[in-house]
Symmetry: C2
Subunit: 257 residues, 2 copies
Amino acid sequence: MSEHAAILIPMLRKLMRWAVLDEEDRSAILALPHSLRTFPKGSCIVREGSAPSHCALLLSGFSYRQKTTLSGSRQIVGINIPGDVVDLQNALLPMADHSVQVFTEAEFAMIPVPALKEIAFTRSAVGLALWKETLVDGSIQRQWTVSVGRRNARERIAHFRCECGYRLEAAGLGLRMHYALPMNQEEIADALGLTAIHVNRTLMSMDRAGLTSRRRHEVVIHDWDALATLAEFDPSYLFLDLDAPQEHRGDWLQSAD
Amino acid sequence: MSEHAAILIPMLRKLMRWAVLDEEDRSAILALPHSLRTFPKGSCIVREGSAPSHCALLLSGFSYRQKTTLSGSRQIVGINIPGDVVDLQNALLPMADHSVQVFTEAEFAMIPVPALKEIAFTRSAVGLALWKETLVDGSIQRQWTVSVGRRNARERIAHFRCECGYRLEAAGLGLRMHYALPMNQEEIADALGLTAIHVNRTLMSMDRAGLTSRRRHEVVIHDWDALATLAEFDPSYLFLDLDAPQEHRGDWLQSAD
DNA sequence: CGACGTGTTGAAGGAGCTCAATCTAAGTGG
DNA sequence: CCACTTAGATTGAGCTCCTTCAACACGTCG
């Protein structure tokens, strides 16, 4: 267990988005026991069906949640960016309902599940923040279901790109209209319920239309409004807007204290 | 606010599935302030974008969560059966990311959000149970995404029917292989990301194959194994199995007390 | 009885899939 | 530094699952 308290700052920053944390809450979070681990490209952090003993906080790199079918195909049901507590779901339930893997080499802080439960249930503001973190994950998941169920390929890709832009910008990892995300076309296809070939055709068509362009894993959005309109993108489901939550935090503190 | 403590028993039964609740926890749950409300067929309990002041516990009837796109189509992202706390998600976050409507006339116990927050954060076992309730919702949501993203019409319908059978049986509302669910074919289509017409063709084909049969809103599954194999159905994502959680409850009590 | 919601069926078209081939660029080893 | 390897991107052709549009059947309920 490391003493480098500063390591957990990305998690703290994320949690402060969801609840008002006082000085003690903040230092309790930073004092959480943890060990650093680096996972090589493509490796598995949590395996579906297992019972994880540690909760993984993503520090650098990108990971994703996936479920596989017996027939070999897979569905990526979510992606994680640095600062995300990757398997809070898996930690509290008796077994993981999905796997977590990394796109590229990634660094994690592994926090023992009992320590996380301890802080969640002794410091109610921290508990609220962690709970909300899982609820926002749920909101994103529902939007994901809508994309896969009711949008065509072009709309799905547009929506996915808008979502990534917003989330990466909020995490300070790029600009909404210009960011890097290390997913190849097969992975994008598995995320959106399409095939890699059709993803390719759609990407090419969007580039040719002047909406976007790509270079390696970099995405550039030239006409944000057109893309957002196409996707019917409304970022409120991400709960990144700090105004509404601020007001809510006040409400919460009243009833909690 | 009613004094009919017994009204909240379905909620208690559901929460006891997720955590060990002692005598005090149980009576605190049953003592939650609430009022009864009956909603007519098709009415809206929570509207997307609103900030609900009450949390709705479904007592009788069936409801569903949905998101609509500007172009008019909708995606049903989940269904609720009696005993479900329908909008825990919406209550803790500053606004609802999705709507909740009822299929048929339904009865709810409306619990004020502050009271629910109060009990969740003063009684940690209750808080854990409520949190887990939302996490299991998330697990079901992920499975839903997989269905819509990676299964064909026949597999989606088979999976949906297996899931409904399991959940209804667990709630004591029917048998896995014979139950009633008041959804018409258009609603099934909106849940599975299909069109009503294709749902109809697929249902007819499954009936003709001797897999299932229907009468009004009753579903009869004649060959469970064939249906489950077709759907690749594995019920573990529902966390209905009480054995594993039992063990986990023990773990939790140790670190919580 | 007629109206309406729901289920059922047909025919035609399209979005996306499968299979297969080719091309490109980032490594890698000599 | 260059030939070689390889993962990934790109393109074509044919096919299928599902959609769309349109019509009709059936039971319920005013």
